[in-house]
């Protein structure tokens, strides 16, 4: 399944890459039909004719675009580097690197082609993992990873230079704005992103497979049996020349067929209820399709909902200015599962329908309070003797909690800075209030004395 998905993605990527130049010629072209100048193309002279096909003695050879490398898959066909690398890894086919060396073409058909420093001859034996990596390197250098590294270096250079200068990157499918963010992502960008991601998976899987010598051989008999119209009728002994493991694979395939036949017999005799799960076909297909559809729709729906909400919140944020925290923000008891929602007045907590239940704090109407003057600070159930200072008492704990949360990465930096500023303002006001009370108390004491 994985190889199927990867193969499809890379085939698409290959087609897109080929669309840079002329349309590819998929049919085997006799040597006489090609002009002599195109049989031996050079990279410098044929930049606009990146793809052509030549045949000799019934075997064809393909030259990909100049930016691509040349890979010879034996004498049968030739494919792009990514496909070759993946197939060689997945199938356990040996791959040998000839980079930097002169190609040793055993096939006479390849003799007329120009020498390339990046050739990989699949006829040679070698390490599949290393071959995979080498074959994918040319593709990797054009991936977003490399583009991001270049952009990062460009931003660093710009920062050092101290001027706001736009740096145009070399990647054709990705452009960058002044902030360095990716703004235009074409299909090739995404194709290579998939390549990069899959390369990591392939590398891990390939590393876990161990040495080539320890890998079990491919069950060729299974492949042969699948190609026959009646696999159950094929006996292992009818396949001469197969090794023991191929005979085992053939026997396993035959057993599978027999098992299915037994189940069909029982279902026909006793009804579908005899089976542990519905057999696939007819209305029973619905049983298998609906859960998958629900799962995919749920995932897709969540993505769409989040995207819509995000867009709406961005629009709202642009429409209105976020006010600074007022003098006496509500300080809910933190629970450790995130920021107390009332710390920031911008979350609109008090704009709901229960707003009328809240009593506006006297300070909220003061000129110092900006933005929403109706933001209250104390609940109406609070006793009248309770001052705002006493209501603010858990602020130190809140501050400690948010410092802990910001260090744990659970708290957005913007919220943290804003909340910290608000709490510091609040602390200053409390101190001023206390000093005022103390001074008044001293005055009254002196007056009494």
């Amino acid at each position: 399944m994985f190889i199927g998905i990867a193969g499809g993605a890379f085939n698409q990527a290959r087609e897109m890459e080929m669309s840079y130049g002329e349309q590819p010629c998929h049919r085997p072209v006799p040597p006489g039909e090609l002009p002599a100048s195109r049989r031996t193309p050079s990279r410098s002279t044929t930049p606009t004719t990146p793809y052509w096909t030549s045949t000799a003695n019934g075997k064809y050879v393909t030259q990909l675009s100049p930016e691509k490398r040349t890979y010879f898959a034996g004498t049968d066909h030739e494919q792009s580097s990514t496909i070759v690398a993946l197939h060689s890894t997945a199938r356990g086919r040996p791959l040998h690197r000839l980079r930097g060396q002169k190609s040793r073409h055993r096939n006479a058909d390849h003799q007329g082609l120009p020498e390339s420093a990046d050739r990989v001859d699949l006829d040679r034996r070698g390490d599949c993992g290393a071959g995979t990596f080498i074959a994918l390197v040319p593709n990797l250098v054009r991936t977003p990873v490399a583009g991001s590294a270049r952009r990062f270096a460009g931003r660093a250079a710009r920062r050092r230079a101290g001027r706001d200068q736009r740096v145009i990157e070399g990647a054709p499918c990705v452009s960058s704005d002044n902030s360095g963010a990716l703004t235009s992502r074409g299909p090739i960008f995404w194709a290579r992103t998939v390549q990069t991601a899959l390369l990591c998976v392939v590398t891990i899987v390939d590393a876990g497979r161990g040495p080539v010598a320890l890998r079990p051989p491919r069950p060729r008999a299974d492949v042969l049996l699948r190609m026959r119209p009646d696999p159950a009728g094929v006996q292992p002994r009818q396949l001469p020349g197969l090794a023991a493991h191929d005979r085992r694979a053939a026997r396993a395939a035959r057993d599978r067929q027999e098992r299915r036949a037994v189940l069909n017999w029982f279902a026909a005799k006793y009804g579908a209820t005899i089976l542990a799960a519905p057999i696939r076909g007819g209305f029973d297909n619905v049983a298998w399709i609906v859960p998958i559809a629900v799962f995919m729709l749920a995932t897709l729906g969540t993505f769409v909902v989040v995207w819509l909400w995000k867009r709406r919140s961005l629009a709202l944020a642009g429409a209105r200015r976020r006010p600074v925290a007022t003098s006496c923000p509500r300080t809910n008891q933190p629970t450790g599962r995130g920021p107390a929602r009332a710390h920031s007045p911008r979350d609109g907590v008090l704009n709901g329908p229960h707003r009328r239940y809240l009593r506006p704090h006297p300070r909220a109407a003061s000129p110092s309070s900006s933005g929403r003057s109706a933001i209250p600070s104390c609940r109406p159930t609070r006793p009248a003797s309770t001052t705002c200072a006493s209501a603010r008492r858990p602020s130190t704990r809140t501050s400690a909690t948010s410092t802990s949360n910001i260090q744990a990465g659970k708290y957005p930096e913007a919220d943290y800075a804003e909340q910290r500023r608000a709490l510091e303002d609040e602390a200053a006001q409390v101190i001023a209030e206390m000093e005022g009370l103390t001074a008044r108390g001293m005055k009254s004491t002196r007056a009494g004395a």
Partner: protein, 359 residues
């Protein structure tokens, strides 16, 4: 008494499940009442939080005890056989778990009010459905000893409850407007939302598999059996995705998570995930070598590697909170005014102190 039921855990299993089923009626009643009376704020959530958590705990214990009874007495070869009555107890557990997570968003950010109300409505109705499936015998189950002609009453009650919930919601839906919107895809709110969706998808899948024999009989005239192979095949990918979300959810910040924070928090779990997968493959967990069992080995490999990443993420978060609190522990021991008010962080610090003492 049926000889199958003469087992010690059967003394506790039914009351536990009963408490789990009945307990969900408390948050349901509060939610419906708050909606009917236009009760402001999220006070009903604060009031019913303990009810919900204790109920969820009872239901969880009941399910586990039932699973152990099935393993010991029925001899299914496993703890979970996807019996319709087992499924009936699992469905409210799934929606209840989603509700427990989702109310935190309403509590913190004033979001997802509609969703929360319907989650608790669904949980309540699924508990009634579970009772209906157990008692009515409309689906063949190992719990056939509990059958009685009471099913019609439960069926009527479910329809009545749904009608009341729907009408109340339609009349009072203006009261449930969200106060905030999601601001980023990479945020804790998003992870909660995905978590809820996946839990609900799992619930719908189980419900679909449980009721499909009835549907199949109505459409084709023949009743099919939905056994473990069906549920295992459709639920394992959902479970793996849920496991993945379990790992990344606690590491994300509210509102939006910066790239720096992601890099800092996810570096170690991802590294551990990759290393563990590599070690497993070297140790012999290689799906491509297992022939017919390739699928199960592949899922096992994914599950174990994800579990390693999740455990690393949780431990990392635990230790990070503990390390921040460590310099202040003297003040905590001497004073009741803890530096870290969250109970979890305080527990983490205490555990770290204990661990360091052991070392």
């Amino acid at each position: 008494l049926n000889p199958l039921l003469q087992y010690p855990e059967m003394v506790i299993h039914p009351p536990m499940l009963y408490l789990g089923y009945v307990g969900f009626s408390v948050p349901f009643a509060f939610a419906l009442g708050a909606l009917m009376m236009r009760y402001p704020g999220e006070k009903w959530i604060h009031i019913t939080r303990r009810w919900t958590m204790v109920t969820w705990l009872f239901l969880t214990c009941g399910i586990f005890m039932g699973a152990h009874w099935a393993y010991s007495v029925l001899g299914w070869g496993g703890y979970w056989g996807w019996d319709p009555v087992e499924n009936a107890s699992l469905m409210p557990w799934l929606t209840g778990t989603a509700f427990l997570h989702s109310v935190m968003m309403q509590e913190k950010r004033g979001m997802m009010k509609n969703w929360n109300v319907w989650l608790i409505f669904s949980t309540f109705m699924l508990t009634i459905l579970g009772t209906l499936l157990t008692r009515s015998g409309i689906i063949s189950s190992v719990h056939a000893f509990a059958q009685s002609p009471i099913g019609a009453w439960f069926y009527t009650f479910i329809r009545l409850s749904f009608a009341v919930c729907l009408v109340t919601f339609l009349i009072r839906r203006d009261h449930l407007k969200s106060e905030n919107k999601l601001e980023s895809l990479v945020s804790r709110e998003s992870s909660f939302l995905f978590n809820n969706m996946i839990l609900l998808a799992a619930c719908i899948t189980v419900l679909w598999g449980t009721l499909f024999p009835l549907l199949s009989e109505a459409v084709t005239g023949s009743k099919v059996t939905m056994g473990a192979p069906f549920y295992n095949r459709v639920n394992i990918p959902i479970g793996l995705f849920l496991l993945f979300l379990t790992g990344i959810g606690p590491l994300l910040a509210w509102r939006s998570t910066s790239l720096r924070s992601i890099r800092r928090n996810f570096m170690l779990p991802v590294d551990c995930h990759g290393r563990h997968g590599h070690r497993l493959m070297i140790a012999g967990v290689r799906p491509w070598n297992d022939g017919d069992d390739m699928q199960s080995t592949f899922f096992s490999l994914i599950a174990f590697t994800l579990a390693a990443g999740v455990i690393t993420a949780i431990v990392e978060e635990f230790l990070r909170g503990a390390s921040w609190c460590a310099p202040r522990r003297a003040r905590i021991y001497l004073s009741s005014d803890a530096c870290c008010s969250p109970g979890a962080t305080r527990g983490a610090m205490a555990a770290t102190s204990s661990t360091s003492a052991l070392w």
